[in-house]
Homo-oligomer: 194 residues x 2
């Protein structure tokens, strides 16, 4: 299983966040949903061996973790506006214990530390100043943690650094989260064909 | 300069295409605009040395070429709904001779063949059954042509094959157009730092 965890520092935790303003009023929910597309979708199919957890830390009621599991998702759309509807519906059902709000869409009251505690696979931090991913040994089952447009906070970085096995960068330029995920998948697809 | 050309076989050529249904009613305009993001954007900045031409072939009035030039764009948004507004405005001003509808957004009545005729750089076709991009020599100034969710038609393929210097794949899996562009940029960023 390949897992991705993306921290959305401003991402809305309101089930009423605006579908017409995912980049603004919803706190860069567009970035998180584009990341989900990169993590979960291939041409005409879903990656059944992948999942992504979006850690929503924006107002009004953080934290919330939305976990999208490729093996359970049905007809997940590349249209992020449609996917935003799934996230909104999940935000109606937040509870301490994770529950499945719709097929493949899991929701819980968890922040980054608790999400990482629930992951047993080796954890790799993706960050611009890491080691070139092409030169790092990566197991088939692996988890990656990334931030949104802002760096992880000191506290988040401390949490991650206690669990990670490596810090990697995907290339020489600082790029968008979804592009970094696409490149990471590509590297793993080459090393560990399904 | 790195250039990308993406063929949108169903992409709407109506200036009134629906902003709320980019994936459906607008003929997968979402796919084209996600491709534009991957081609043009890095973290907090625009790639000034990149451009992408979207070849719109859907109803009611094809073909139309929308060329987004990184060196001229001002405040291009990662929010595809906002970018769709730029495309709609450009579709109000289609003419045989290319004109700049807004800064960095050029529009013309051109199909794939005419768009490729206007490109002097070596052309590479990105296709699933090509040679691994990591094993192909690529110059700094290069153009790539890709299709949307469907393969190029026989006629398009013939047009491309007359001009291309290589057919490449980005990896072992068939992936989305925007992800393929992100991986292509990454490969070139590694070989030809800005």
């Amino acid at each position: 299983m390949r897992r991705f965890v993306v921290v959305g520092h401003r991402a809305s935790t309101s089930p009423g966040f605006p579908l017409d303003d995912l980049a603004g009023g919803a706190g860069r929910m567009d970035l998180l949903l584009n990341a989900a597309n990169a993590a979960l979708l291939v041409s005409h199919d879903i990656r059944r061996d992948a999942e992504i957890t979006l850690v929503l830390l924006g107002p009004p009621d953080p934290p919330v973790a939305i976990r999208l599991a490729g093996e359970r998702l049905q007809s997940y759309s590349p249209d992020i506006r449609t996917d935003a509807g799934l996230v909104r519906a999940a935000l109606e059902r937040v509870s301490r214990i994770e529950r499945e709000a719709s097929p493949g869409v899991f929701v819980s009251r968890r922040g980054l530390a608790e999400v990482l505690d629930g992951i047993q696979d080796p954890l790799v931090e993706l960050r611009e100043d890491g080691k070139d991913i092409r030169e790092v040994e990566l197991p088939r089952d692996v988890a990656f943690v990334l931030s949104d447009t802002t760096d992880l906070t000191e506290e988040e970085e401390a949490t991650v650094s206690r669990k990670r096995i490596a810090v990697c960068r995907v290339g020489p330029r600082s790029i968008h989260t979804d592009d970094a995920i696409a490149i990471t998948h590509n590297e793993l697809d080459r090393r560990h064909p399904p």
